[in-house]
């Protein structure tokens, strides 16, 4: 600390604070706006009834179900794939190996590809080539492709963050590589996996462009994974852009989307932590 008095704020400090505050302010403004307009519409009935009059009236039950199904398909496919790939990258290739570098570079490029491109690819491949049509399955699979790079990269970081001492320690006890991987490294890498999961879910649940071409926008209750289903994000888009007088319900849907996001993330974190705690004890 210099001689200068403590309540004199230097310019860099001021700028840093100003930036931090304005970021927070923008977030609060968005949140406040959605709450202000949406909370009045929100009710049990809104969550449990079908939309009527193009969504201006009624609720969002089928849309909520479709969203959850799309997310479930996406995670069911992308989670095992990403953990497997991350293990391959982190445990069986070195950082400087050519194969590892190639895969990593491709993933980083994929992560930056605009979602509309994924949408077109999903449409061409899942909907048309594989004949899945406009369906929840096509949508979920397309989203899986989209979040895969994020999931893999953060899972890989998670595995790399596990200290080498654990691997050496396990090897010195005569434990096989498989045992070490499943029973020691995987639980130890859980924090990294959770970070990836939270980011991936966030991106998937908010996705619109990739879903318009794959899961479609039929707002009826889906009867199977092969039915078309409208996701919350598409519903919000449709109500606010194409339906005059749909703003109120658009706001309420946005609020539901936010709550859903928080809920799913909370659950993912909680499950991972619960699992970790069990690993420590028994």
């Amino acid at each position: 600390m210099g001689e200068k008095s403590k309540n004199q704020i230097s310019l860099p400090t001021f700028i840093v604070w100003a930036i931090a505050l304005s970021v927070t302010a923008v977030f609060c403004w968005i949140l406040g706006d959605i709450l202000w307009h949406g909370v009045g519409q929100l009710s049990w009935e809104f969550l449990t009834t079908e939309p009527r009059n193009a969504g201006r009236e009624g609720g969002i039950a089928p849309i909520l179900i479709s969203t959850c199904l799309i997310l479930a398909v996406c995670l069911a496919v992308s989670l095992p794939l990403s953990v497997g790939t991350a293990v391959l990258l982190a445990e069986f290739t070195t950082t400087e190996s050519r194969f590892g570098r190639l895969v990593r570079r491709s993933l980083d490029v994929l992560a930056g590809v605009p979602s509309i491109v994924f949408g077109l690819f999903g449409n061409a491949f899942f909907s048309i080539k594989l004949g899945l049509g406009f369906s929840i399955l096509s949508g979920g699979l397309t989203l899986a492709c989209m979040v895969l790079p994020i999931l893999i990269r953060s899972a890989e970081e998670g595995f790399r963050a596990v200290p080498t001492e654990y691997r050496l320690g396990a090897a010195a006890l005569g434990l096989s590589r498989t045992t070490t991987l499943w029973k020691l490294l995987l639980p130890a890498a859980t924090p990294g996996l959770v970070v990836g999961l939270v980011l991936g879910i966030g991106r998937a649940i908010a996705e619109t462009a990739a879903l318009i071409f794959t899961s479609g926008y039929v707002d009826r209750m889906p009867e199977s994974l092969l039915d078309s289903g409208r996701s919350l994000s598409i519903h919000i888009f449709d109500l606010s852009m194409n339906v005059a007088g749909g703003d109120a319900n658009a706001y309420a849907s946005a609020l539901v989307l936010l709550i859903l996001l928080l809920l799913v993330n909370g659950m993912a974190t909680w499950i991972a932590q619960f699992w970790l705690a069990r690993r420590i004890k028994s």
């Binding site: 200290p163 001492e165 691997r167 050496l168 010195a172 006890l173 005569g174 004890k281």
Partner: protein, 267 residues
């Protein structure tokens, strides 16, 4: 005092080891070359020498932990009870069960204290709860940790003190009943009191295990060692300078370098 199972565990004979012109290369760079040295059964062999002379590297050859480090090459011969272990037909995993390692930095797993010992035991086929509990208790008593942790066996081992962690790691190696124990500066991260406790523990292993210990503490080497080996870097390569009984190395060294090192003139 109740004699623990491990104390009574006097095997018919403990194995000895012998290296013959052993060299280790990291890529093109040699860590040490041409080390020919016996490791006598049931005795404590102390490895001493300045930093970077290849002591850790030497230890990691003895249980083939070097297999895990990419781009390493081991040349020469290591025999465990007359059986060559630098041989692809030898199962490195089975070998490491017989030759346990304690690392310089205590590395308990991010599990509970109990599970740190139960995990390797279970993986090696001991699954019954009573048997696990009994083995874990006797081993923790053996390393003098039982009374300190018996009320918190199911809390994370990461909250133990440094000395307790190191003793837990020793227990984790002992619970598998290895025959040879390799210790890499086990006391260097510990305060003098914990260090003393761990040192006494190691001295008590004499006759029950074949022990190789790396230490920078010459007084410690002299106190607990039966044999000593001095390593030194010559032309950027680690070499074995002198090997002999602790008596010989510390009171009547053959080499000037050894005399200078053990008298604290060099190193």
């Amino acid at each position: 005092m109740k004699k623990s199972q491990l104390t009574q565990n006097s095997r018919l004979s403990l194995p000895s080891m012998q290296t013959e012109r052993l060299s280790l290369y990291y890529g093109k760079k040699a860590a040490f070359t041409d080390v020919t040295m016996p490791i006598y059964s049931g005795k404590i062999t102390a490895l001493i020498g300045p930093s970077g002379c290849g002591k850790t590297s030497f230890l990691s050859c003895l249980n083939r932990l070097t297999d895990l480090i990419p781009h390493t090459k081991v040349v020469g011969s290591i025999r465990l009870d007359a059986v060559e272990i630098l041989n692809n037909r030898v199962d490195a995993i089975a070998l490491r069960r017989r030759v346990g390692t304690i690392f310089q930095k205590p590395n308990p797993f991010p599990f509970s204290i109990w599970k740190n010992l139960a995990f390797p035991l279970k993986e090696h086929g001991i699954k019954k709860r009573e048997q696990l509990d009994r083995l874990i208790e006797t081993t923790l008593q053996d390393v003098g940790l039982w009374s300190e942790v018996k009320d918190r066996l199911h809390t994370s081992a990461l909250f133990l003190s440094g000395g307790q962690k190191q003793r837990l790691c020793i227990a984790r190696a002992l619970v598998l009943q290895p025959e040879v124990l390799l210790l890499d500066e086990p006391c260097s991260a510990l305060d003098p009191i914990s260090s003393g406790v761990v040192e006494d523990l190691i001295a008590s292993l004499r006759g029950r295990y074949t022990v190789v210990i790396v230490t920078h503490n010459l007084a410690q080497a002299r106190r607990i060692g039966d044999y000593a080996a001095l390593f030194w870097v010559r032309a950027e390569v680690g070499r074995l300078i002198e090997y002999g009984t602790v008596e010989q190395i510390f009171t009547a060294p053959q080499q000037d370098l050894t005399a200078a090192y053990v008298n604290g003139i060099r190193g």
